[in-house]
Point group: none
Chain length 115, copies 4
DNA sequence: GTGGTCTAGACCACT
DNA sequence: GTGGTCTAGACCACA
C-alpha cells in the first residue's frame, strides 16, 4: 500500500501523508479517519506506529479524538497544517534550497527548465 | 562553535560543511586539513564523530589520508564533490522541493521574490 | 451542551455533575430525573454512557430506579453524596492540594487572596 | 523503588516525579540524568515507558538530549517547570478546589486546621 | 555506552 | 468497536 523511505521514521511519514491528504482536500474537516487498526493493516505497520502518527497530528492540532469513537480531522485543520508547513518551507526549505542551488552553480531559471 | 541540527547525523553535518568549504574554494586541492583532534575540539564533538566525517569524505574521493601526516583535500576533489552534489540536487532535492512548493500553493516566481 | 474534559471518563463527569446538582439542592430527594435518552441527547453522548453514569449513582445510593418509570433522587441522597464527597475531599484532594501548593511556593493565604 | 497509582499513566507519573525533582532542586540545570535503561531498572518499568516520560519532558523544555550521550536537565528548566505548574495550579486546581470546598461546606480556615 | 524506532501482542477503559 | 498504555524484546544509528 505504501513505500516507506529509510531516512525518516515511519510514523512521521504516515503523519506527513495524512497532512498531505488534508492539504489536497482529500480529507476535510470533520471527516472520520480510518481507525488506528485499519491504518495499521492498510499500511502494513504495527498499530503502535500508526498510533504514534496520530499523536503527532494531535499535537499540531490537525486531528482530534472522540473517545471510543475514532480520530477526526479537526476544525481548522487545513489552515493549521497549511500555515505550519508554509512556515517550515519559507524558513527552512527555501533558504537551504537557494543556498545549495547557488553553491552548485544553478539559477532559478535552470530549475524552471527542470520542473 | 557550530550548531548541529537534530534531524541529521552530526558526522554528516561535518562532512557537508567540509564539502561546502571545498565547493566555495576556501579549501583547495592539496590543502592540509585540520587534524581529527582539532576538528573534535573546535566543533565540540567526539573524535570518533570527526573521524567518521573524514571517512565519508574519503569514500567519495574528496579527501585523502597520508599516513602519519594528516588528511588532505585530494586531487580532483572539487569536481568530484560538485558532480556528486549536483546529481543529488537534481535527482532528489529539486523534485521534492517542487512538489512541496506546489502543494503549498507557491510558484517559482514566488520563490524568486523571496530569494 | 456540555464540555467534557479528556482526563476523566465522560460517564464519571456526568455522574459528578448530577452529584453537584444534588449537593446544590437543585435536584432534591424524590425528584424524577431526566431519562437516559434525554440525558444522552442533551449531553450529546452515547446512551450507554449516560446509563453508566446512572449506574454509578445507583451504586452510591444517590439514585434509585423504579422499573418502567424512571430514575429518581433517592431518599437520603443528599447525605449520602455529601458524606462520600467529603471523605474523598479530606482524604485525597486536600493533602494533594497542600502538597502541590507548598511545592509551588504558595501558602493558604495566597490561595485566600486568589479565591 | 516507586509505587505507581492506577488512575494515571505510569510515564506521566515518572515525568511528574522528575519535574518535582527539578522543582525541589534535587536535580539542577545541566545535570546528566539517569539513562533510559537505568530509569527502567530503577523504577521497574519497561524502557519504552521510561523513554516516553523523557519525551514528554522534552516537549515542555525541561530536558534536552545530547545524542548518544544522554538526557540533561535543560537550561532554564526550573523556571519553565515552575511557570507551567503554577499556571496549571492557578488556572485549574485552585478554582476546582475552591468550588469543591464550598460545595462541601468547608472554608479555608477548615483546610488550615487540617493541614 | 546512549537514545530512537519498531514489532508483536496483551490488557484496559470507554462508547 | 474505539483509542491508550504497557511489556518484552529486537535492531539501528550515533558518540
Amino acid at each position: 500500500m505504501m513505500k516507506f523511505s529509510d531516512n525518516q521514521p515511519i510514523y512521521q511519514q504516515i503523519s506527513d501523508y495524512i497532512c498531505n491528504q488534508i492539504l489536497d482536500k482529500k480529507w476535510i474537516e470533520g471527516d472520520r479517519m480510518p481507525s488506528v487498526r485499519e491504518i495499521a493493516v492498510l499500511m502494513e505497520v504495527n498499530p503502535n506506529t500508526a498510533m504514534r502518527a496520530f499523536q503527532t497530528l494531535q499535537d499540531i492540532g490537525a486531528v482530534e479524538n472522540r473517545r471510543g469513537i475514532g480520530h477526526f480531522v479537526s476544525e481548522g485543520a487545513y489552515d493549521a497544517v497549511l500555515t505550519m508547513k508554509r512556515k517550515e518551507f519559507i524558513e527552512n526549505d527555501v533558504p537551504q534550497f537557494i543556498k545549495s542551488m547557488k553553491r552548485l552553480g544553478y539559477s532559478l531559471s535552470d530549475i524552471n527548465d527542470l520542473a
